[in-house]
Symmetry: C2
């Protein structure tokens, strides 16, 4: 299998380190807007980097990406950029006749008049609008194939297939106890994406009612995370699982809650009140006269690169899927989860926990596609495919998952 | 008197409206980086604008400003820009043989190793370093001649001259009860300057010890402001009065405390934690490739222009000088203050209260220089000149000051 990886940031770099240890890969072209970043990712692989090469590409340039896919004879495009670039990359793969994987879906737009009650454009809507064309092409667009969305969706399908007869609620719950030494504030994941998820109206699914939205940070609850992380306050945020799971898994309610903590929530609210979360450009003085920039890009540029914080980071991150329902007539409640300890991921891969946890899942998925254990055509979420091969292979990657019986 | 006003923002525009009603002015050239802004200020004067003209100038271009002063035969440069432009304008006036007035002084730089204990470069240090050349030129640089610094310094000198035999402490205290309808957060004054004042280490003066710094937001106290504003929590911030007053007025301690309120303090702390208060440029994507911008400029660009908020604003702003000491052997404590009601300043001048209050003081000072009631050479603060003519003329402008006996 020949793969074009677009994006050599934290997640993309971790993808190269994980993939380099697996045999299924014939070649991976690592492409980034910043060639030096792509080269650094390849160089860091040392002798195990023989199957990797670096290229420059602008992820917003659909035609340039298509040409790169064709020239490099790539079977699949793995998108490891931020969600702004989903559509040009998704279209470029379709144009080139390549399969496509991403870890975040096309962006939402709030309802124009009732943003905290009704959905406007939903996450992934733009991608699903092209589902028919993907089906006709015989190629697979496997969307939302990181850890959340991704592994969390696999857990949902696994619960439906093997653990429950009837599901009342599926709630993704994400929490961590990571701290970063020497910084007042240092998010462990892309702040651009975090702002997007957390300040957009959270989406909730209920059977009969369909998808609807609430106010940001709604329905706070304290969730007790496993493996020593402990209780963390979680709130509703917009996330792909809520859009993906109900398409393939029967559940009466689907939610996503993120363990942000009070301090992070307060900072996000302040960014919003000051208008600094905005992506629409503002005019400010530049070196040679006025220039137009996106405030959110400036926020990201002022914070340390999350991928470079692993050495100063301590703690664990947990992604997982809480499921409530019945089995053989009895009430059942489980939490299926995956924990990564930063100390382990730094020692083993030189990647910090959050980006490593995101990156391992698309590599597992690529291997399943390479071996034929997974296959399909069209635009599919991870829950559209059999969960057991995925969970077994993830364990084989040295990163086992867990199941906690809640009741 | 011919005046070059540089800066046609909120304060500069209010200066034109106040000056247009006074006879001392022969001509005022209103110059701004954005010519349209200068023209708008002049046009808004209508028939009373005959003595005003608009010009374009880059305040950072010392030679261009010098030429404009000479070409327009201006006697004095009034600087109504933000403090970044103090030094080029101050030097341009010296080069051109013109007098100079500003409302904020040259910027400070924190002590490299002990920022919250010792001063580094102090506010105004760069200007006072050129004091000898101003003295030799026979021209006056009247620095810090707005409301705070400015009127607050005049109050300090008045207290020393007429109210006290011995002064223990002079504390500038600034507070307001202004609210802006329709905004979560809308500062009533330049956010660039507010960040600069509030996040720099606050400076305190003590006789014997000299100037020293503390941590931001130190020594909180609740000060009860007059005319219905009431109690507001005030904290130490860096301000020019602390640097100016001890040079001309005897006091054992000088402080400046700003009534910011909890919410504003929290927002400023967040901006600092996120690095968004920084002026050093960061690289972000622009329309045609990477551009370099100052995060603080982006914060300012995201907020509404304070000068345009007058119509939505309600309440009063108070600037003043609290003095504690003895008179005829008895303890005495007074608060000398100046309150502007936004409703009044909008109705009378179409300018919101905070910018109007800043703007009226340099116009009064210009009139005192024009009539010869004030004169001097060198770099002087407002407290270097006799206070009574200033306070009387301010009252004559329809904006009286008050004295509250505290004991």
């Amino acid at each position: 299998m020949r793969v074009l990886l677009v994006g050599a940031g934290g997640v993309g770099t971790a993808v190269t380190r994980i993939a380099a240890r697996r045999d299924f890969l014939t070649h991976m072209v690592v492409a980034d807007y910043d060639l030096a970043r792509a080269e650094a990712a390849v160089d860091a692989l040392g002798e195990s980097g023989a199957r990797f090469s670096a290229r420059q590409v602008d992820a917003s340039d659909r035609e340039a990406v298509r040409r790169l896919l064709v020239d490099q004879r790539c079977d699949v495009l793995l998108n490891a950029t931020d969600p702004r670039f989903v559509m040009p990359l998704f279209r470029a793969a379709l144009d080139a006749g390549a399969h496509y994987l991403d870890m975040a879906m096309s962006l939402s737009a709030p309802h124009p008049s009732r943003p905290y009650e009704e959905c406007g454009v939903k996450l992934g809507d733009e991608q699903f609008a092209l589902a028919r064309r993907w089906e006709q092409s015989g190629r697979l667009a496997l969307v939302g194939m990181g850890v959340e969305p991704g592994l969390s969706d696999v857990f949902a399908r696994y619960a439906a297939d093997e653990l429950f007869d009837d599901i009342e609620e599926i709630g993704i719950r994400d929490g961590a106890n990571l701290t970063v030494e020497g910084y007042d504030f240092a998010p462990s994941f892309s702040i651009w994406t975090t702002i997007e998820e957390c300040l957009n109206p959270p989406v909730v699914y209920e059977k009969g009612r369909g998808w609807f939205t609430t106010a940001p940070f709604s329905e706070p609850e304290v969730f007790d995370f496993p493996e020593g992380i402990g209780p963390v306050e979680c709130v509703n945020v917009e996330h792909e699982e809520v859009l993906l799971i109900p398409r393939w898994v029967q559940a009466r309610r689907v939610t996503f809650k993120y363990g942000l903590g009070d301090d992070f929530i307060a900072k996000l609210k302040t960014l919003h009140e000051l208008g600094l979360d905005a992506t629409a450009k503002v005019t400010v003085p530049g070196d040679g006269g006025p220039v137009r920039v996106s405030p959110r890009d400036v926020v990201a540029a002022c914070l340390p690169d999350p991928a470079g914080l692993g050495d100063r980071m301590t703690g664990k991150t947990c992604a997982g899927t809480w499921v409530k329902g019945t089995r053989d007539g009895a009430a059942r409640e489980v939490y299926l989860y995956h924990v990564v300890d930063n100390e382990w991921s730094m020692r083993e891969y030189g990647s910090q926990a959050v980006v490593w946890q995101t990156a391992v899942n698309p590599v597992v998925a690529l291997e399943l596609l390479a071996t034929g254990a997974w296959s399909g055509a069209g635009v599919l979420g991870p829950e559209a495919l059999p969960p057991r091969p995925f969970l077994d292979l993830l364990t084989d990657y040295g990163s086992p998952w867990g199941l906690r019986d809640e009741a």
